[in-house]
Symmetry: C2
Subunit: 166 residues, 2 copies
């Protein structure tokens, strides 16, 4: 059950779409505005429901296809936090800043984390392979301080416990 989350964005999706040669259909307008005004995670079904309040005829397929388009444009990013949950996919709009998630394998908490090291990696790629970085994502799995203190880290029992909990 994929989820969608909206994040700050400099320009409207509509403008961005136009810029990329996409047609601005009425359905697209609706979907875009839902994504832009949402402040929580939304999954495909929720988006569909919202959209139907405004445009009753809109089809599920259209929602999926437009999410796919936005993903391809690099505007939203489907992400599932290391697949810790297994069944939930999150979408989030690309942020300017290099972006990373650190997930505890024992308690399941996910932290956002920023480090200047990321910038260095970008520069390294630029310099050594001539690759120009548009965006990047780090996902790290491990055990947070609290769980380690409780002895939950890295043992088979901890994994089993985490599994049961999920």
């Amino acid at each position: 059950m994929p989820l969608l989350r909206q994040v700050r964005r400099r320009r409207g999706l509509a403008e961005l779409a136009k810029q990329h040669g996409l047609r601005l259909t009425s359905q697209r307008r609706v979907i875009f505005s839902i994504l832009e005004s949402a402040n929580t995670h939304l999954n495909a079904k929720q988006i569909l429901e919202e959209a139907r309040k405004v445009a009753p005829g809109i089809d599920q397929v259209t929602v999926y296809r437009n999410l796919a388009v936005l993903k391809q444009l690099g505007v939203v990013d489907e992400l599932d936090l290391l697949h810790l949950r297994g069944d939930e996919h999150y979408y989030e709009a690309k942020q300017t800043r290099a972006h990373s998630h650190v997930a505890c394998l024992a308690c399941g908490k996910v932290f956002e984390y920023y480090t200047p090291a990321m910038k260095r990696i970008h520069q390294e790629l630029e310099r050594e392979v001539g690759f120009s970085v548009s965006f990047s994502r780090i996902e790290i799995g491990g055990y947070c301080a609290a769980c380690r203190d409780q002895g939950l880290a890295a043992t088979p029992e901890a994994s089993a416990a985490a599994k049961r909990r999920s």
Copy 2:
């Protein structure tokens, strides 16, 4: 259509499963051995087909559930390369080494990339938040040298072209 890829692993999946308190059923044995001997990407359907050659009665659901279990154990990792392709998920066994993928948004090529900076990030997390890193993944999107030379980078046309190509 998720894909599976097998990667070097220090101990057998069976041993690992036991260690985590999982039961070693005959189906599991079959699935594990398929994963262990595969040297290309495999998707769920392919695994099922392989498994049925040995254990004709095995069900699709069993394959899915065991893949989920392995994911939760952190033994295989479902990954979809920045969702560039949109429809293909790749699984790969966790590697010891910090692991990263760099994908060109224009030509779609994916490079593997290793950098000592990753190690530094681990140490930083360890030192500053007391988080102990088990594994990590970097995914970077941008434009490779070749595509930049062809002027494909970062322009609306390039995105459209990349989209068409996919």
